[in-house]
């Protein structure tokens, strides 16, 4: 495989999966800028680690990419804790504007409102539930793949998914039991 083909393959891979990868990065970070930084760093790590190999230079499978994003987000969060102390005031203003950002496509006003509601509901979820929902629904991973990505048992992944759906139901349909 030539280098041009490799780059083309990776670009196609990112074109097909970039949105779901960014969505997962969003669920792991506080704002859009951090999510993009995390995704960029994770892609760079994957590209570097794969380019050092003589074989198997094809784009990684999705579970591995999600794992890379998760690890990068953890590293990023450690740095952010220190940075937030310095930028607390300005960051607060930034975060307020970030809350309006929609995570999903919306072709009509009704869909836009619905997408915003779900975005808000997802942001309210505990991170461990949000991760499972994001990986299962938009990452299209199985519970086994989610368990490997998040380093948890498959049964735990399944139960977290159920709890997350239930929590979303309570937020999105508060009047129903």
């Amino acid at each position: 495989m030539t280098n041009d083909n490799l780059a083309t393959d990776w670009k196609k891979w990112f074109h097909d999966n970039g949105t779901r990868l960014l969505l997962f990065a969003r669920s792991k970070t506080n704002n859009e800028q951090d999510a993009q930084d995390v995704l960029q760093e994770a892609i760079l790590r994957l590209w570097k680690s794969y380019s050092n190999k003589t074989e198997g230079f094809s784009p990684p499978q999705l579970p591995l990419a999600f794992t890379a994003i998760r690890n990068t987000a953890i590293d990023h969060a450690r740095k952010s804790i220190r940075r937030q102390a310095r930028e607390q005031h300005s960051d607060q203003v930034f975060r307020e504007s970030e809350q309006l950002l929609n995570w999903f496509e919306s072709s009509s006003i009704i869909k836009k409102e619905r997408a915003e509601e779900i975005t808000k509901a997802l942001k309210k979820l505990p991170e461990k539930f949000r991760d499972v929902i994001s990986l299962k629904i938009w990452g299209e991973l199985t519970f086994l793949e989610i368990s490997k990505t998040l380093n948890i048992p498959a049964n735990t992944a399944a139960s977290r998914y159920r709890y997350a759906l239930d929590a979303l139901r309570k937020t999105l349909k508060p009047n129903t039991l």
């Binding site: 490799l6 780059a7 990112f14 949105t19 995704l39 999903f104 496509e105 629904i137 159920r162």
Partner: protein, 162 residues
């Protein structure tokens, strides 16, 4: 899974993650292009040259040089050990005991039995007894060594038979 949870799941499935910003996409694609350019430049500019014969000779030469190096290092090390032993000896000289006193004392004389030599001449053995005493002193710490050595000198005195 109950009906309501299924509905929530379906509504989530209907949503598609929002598209990436064009600028961000270009940034990510730039990662792949950049690394590819580096890889291409290595091969295109022939920075990596595969010469089998040259590689073998260079490897052999490197092994030979390494062997010679190890050999001289071994020689140097053994010489250094010799120097060390000599220097230790010189340093030991400082600690040698210096003779302070030597005395030879005459203790007596005794006569042994007369015997005949091979030429049939009688001899009288006369034994003179001495005692040699020595004292050595270590200048470094002032310690002394005293030693007494008994010694004898035997004289064969021919006896006149005429």
């Amino acid at each position: 899974m109950d009906k309501e949870l299924k509905e929530i799941e379906n509504s989530l499935n209907e949503l598609k993650p929002s598209n990436l910003e064009r600028e961000f996409c270009e940034k990510i694609n730039g990662i792949f292009d950049l690394k590819t350019e580096i890889k291409d430049s290595k091969t295109k500019n022939k920075k990596i040259i595969h010469l089998v014969f040259t590689q073998n000779s260079v490897t052999a030469a490197a092994i030979l040089i390494a062997f010679i190096g190890v050999f001289f290092a071994f020689l140097n090390d053994s010489n250094r050990n010799n120097l060390k032993s000599i220097s230790t000896k010189n340093e030991g000289d400082k600690n040698l005991f210096v003779p302070m006193k030597a005395k030879n004392t005459f203790e007596g004389v005794s006569e042994d039995e007369i015997f005949l030599s091979e030429d049939k001449r009688p001899y009288q053995p006369v034994r003179y007894k001495f005692s040699d005493s020595f004292i050595w002193k270590n200048k470094a710490d002032g310690s002394l060594i005293e030693m007494n050595i008994p010694s004898q000198r035997l004289f064969y005195v021919p006896i006149k038979t005429d």
